[in-house]
Amino acid sequence: MSTKDLTIGFVGNPNCGKTTLFNAYTGANLKVANWPGVTVEKKEGAMRFHDENYRLVDLPGTYSLTSYTMEETVTRQYILSDDVDVIVDVADASALERNLYLTLQLIELGKPVVLALNMMDIVQERGMEIDLHRLPEMLGIPCVPVSARKKTGLEILIHTVAHHKDKALGEKIIHHHDPEDSRHEGAEEHHKMYAMVYSDEIEDKIDEIADLFKKEYPNIKNLRWHAIKILENDQELREKYPLDFSGILDKDYEKEMINQKFGFVEEVIAECVVNKNKKAQSTDKTDRILTHPVLGLPVFLLIMAGVFFLTFTVGDWLKGYFEVALEWITGAVAGGLTNFGVHEMLISLITDGIIAGVGGILTFLPNIFILFLALAFLEDSGYMARVAYVMDGIMGKIGLSGRAFLPMLLGFGCTVPAVMASRVLENRADRMKTILITPFMSCSARLPVYVLFSSLFFGDKAMIAAFSMYVLGLCVAILAAYVMKLLDKEKESSMLLIELPEYKTPNAHTIRVYVWEKVKDYLSKAGTTIFLASIVMWVVMNVGPHGFTADMDASFGAIIGKILVPFFTPIGLGYWQIVLALISGIAAKEVVVSSCTVLFGIGNVTTRAGMSSLSALLESMGFGALNAYVLMVFCLLYVPCMAAVATIRRETGSWKWTGAMAVFQIATAWVVSFVIFQIGGLF
C-alpha cells in the first residue's frame, strides 16, 4: 500500500477515556514531548496492524475547536496540518450528547474522521442503547463501538481507520429534517453532503464568504470550514485572511451557530439513543459523601493525610535503603578509584560532587514513585476533579484554585514532588502562583537545620521554635498568595468551571503509564540538571585561587562568602561560615548542617559534646539565640534546593521565571529575617 506510515490523531473531550484508548494501542512505549512553544504535552506512539505501520498521536483533551485555550489551538493546528491522515474522535458513549458537539466540528474540518464510541461497557451496564445503524447515517462517518478498559473493539477501530483514510466526506447522510422546507440554494445537496447544515440565513452567509475566499485564495481545500470559522468570528483565521468581510458579518453569529449545532446534536440523540436518562447511580451515591457540603472537607483532608503518610513514611522507609546503597556505592567507587591510583581531586569530584549530588536526588525516587502512584489513583478514579469543588471556597479567598491545596500540602514533605504536583492545575496562571508559594511550605529537609539550631539555643523550648517555622512558612505563603491576588486586578476571582467525571475503578495500565512517565521524567530531566549543578557546587567548594584544595576556607566558596558578609550583617548572619553554609544549602537544605560542622571544625555535631562546643564557639563570635532563630527563618524562606529549582525550571519552562522566583524568595527571606532580627534586638 502506501509507503508513508499512516498517522492517526486521537481527539476527544477531557474524561472521554481517550488516553486509556491510546495507551491500549501503544502500551507504555511513548514519546512524550511538549508541543512547540507551549507547555501542552504531546504524546506519540507507534503500532503495527496487518503489516502496516501506524503512528498514533494523542492530542490534548478539548471540548471545542475554537482557539480560546492552548489545548484547543494545539489540537486544531495539528489536525489542520498535513501531518495527520485520519482523525479518531473518541467520544464517551455514556455522555454522547456533550461529546457530539466536538464531533460535528471535526467533521466540518473536512478530514477523514472515525468516531470511536468509547465506554460501551458502561452504556450497556446502565441499560442504555445506541442505534449504531442510524448514528453513522446521520453523521456520515463510521461509528465504532469500543471499550478501552475492557479492550473490546480495538481491532475493528483500526481496521475502520485503515479503510476510511481517503474518505473526507461520508457516503450518504440521511436526515429527517426536510430540505424542502429550505429555500437555500442547493439545500438538498447540502443535506446529503454535510452532517451539519445550518439555517438558511447562516448557510447564505457561508456561501458568500466561501465565494470571497475562492476568489482571493483559490488553493484553500476546505472552503466550507474556513467560511464557517470566519462566520464564527474566529480570531486566528480573521488575522490569517485579512479580507473585508464587513458587508457579510453584520452581527455575531457564533452563538447562533453553537445553538444550531446543539440543536442537531439533540436531534441525533433523540433518534439514536434509547434510555438516555438512565443515571449513574453509583457516582451520585459516592458524591453524596465525597462532595458533601460539610463532610466533603474532612474526607478530603483524610485522603490527603493518607497520601502524605504514604509518600513520606513508606517513601522515607524505602529512601533509607537507597541511602545505604548510595553510601556503599560511594565507598566502593572511592575505594576502587584509589586502588587504580586516580588523582584524589578526581575521586573527590566523582564521589563528593557527582555521586553525592545525583545520588542524593535518586534517593527521593521512592517518595516520587509513591506520590505519583497515589495521585494516579485519585486522578484516574475521578476524585481529583472533586478537590477543586471541595476546596474552592477556602482557596478562593487567597485567589488560588481549589486544587492548589494539594501541591501546597505536599510541600511540607518535599518541594520537588509538590512542584510536580502543580500539574493538576489546568490553568497556567494558577500553576505559576502555586509553584511560587509552594517552596515556602517547610519541607522535611529543613527540619535538621531547625533541630540543630533550636536545640543549641532554645533548650526546652526547642520544639516550639522548630514548630514556629512551619507556621511562619504557611503564613508567608498565604500572604504572598494574597498579595498576588490584590495585584492581579483583571480577574475578579478565578472562575471555577470543571467537569466532574463519573467515578470508575482506576485502570492498572493507565496508572502504570502515568507513574512511569513521571518517574522517567524525574530521572532524566532533574538528573541532567542536577548532574551539572553538582559539579558546579563541588568546584565552588573545593577549588580556590590556588587550585584544588581540601580546605574549604581557601575555596572560591569562602571568598564568595566573605564578599557577601555585608549583605547578611543587617539580618544578624554576617559570618562568612554561615553565609557559605547557606550557599551550600542550595545543594540541599540538610547540607547547611553538615557544612556548619565542617566549617566550624566540629567533629560530631549531633553528640552532646559536639553541640556544646559548637554553641560555645558560636556564642564567642556573638552569635546568640536571636541569630540562630533568624538563621532558621532564612533557611526556611530562601531559595529552595537545587533539585527543587531544577524542577521549577522544568515545570515553568522558563529560566527567566525561575530566576525571578529565586530573587523574590531571597528578598522575602531577607526582609522577614531583617524584621525579626531588628525587632528581636530591641528586647
Partner: protein, 73 residues
Amino acid sequence: MTLYEGQKGGSFRVVRMDLPVQTERRLEVLGMLEGTAVTVVNRKKKGAMVINIRGTRFAVGQSITERIEVEKV
C-alpha cells in the same frame, strides 16, 4: 432568579447569561445555552455548586452561577 439561588435537586431552564464573553463561550461549548435544562446536583451553603447539563456534571463557582438567570421548571 439566578442559578446561584437554586436549591439542591431543583431543575431549571437557562434564561440569560451575563458573563464575560470568554466564560460564556466556554459554557456554550459545554452545551449550556439559553433554553438548556440544568439540574442542581449538589451545592454548598455558600459558594460553588455541582450542576448537570446534558448528562454531564460540572462544578461551577459562585462568580458564574450568580450571573446566570434561570427559571424553575
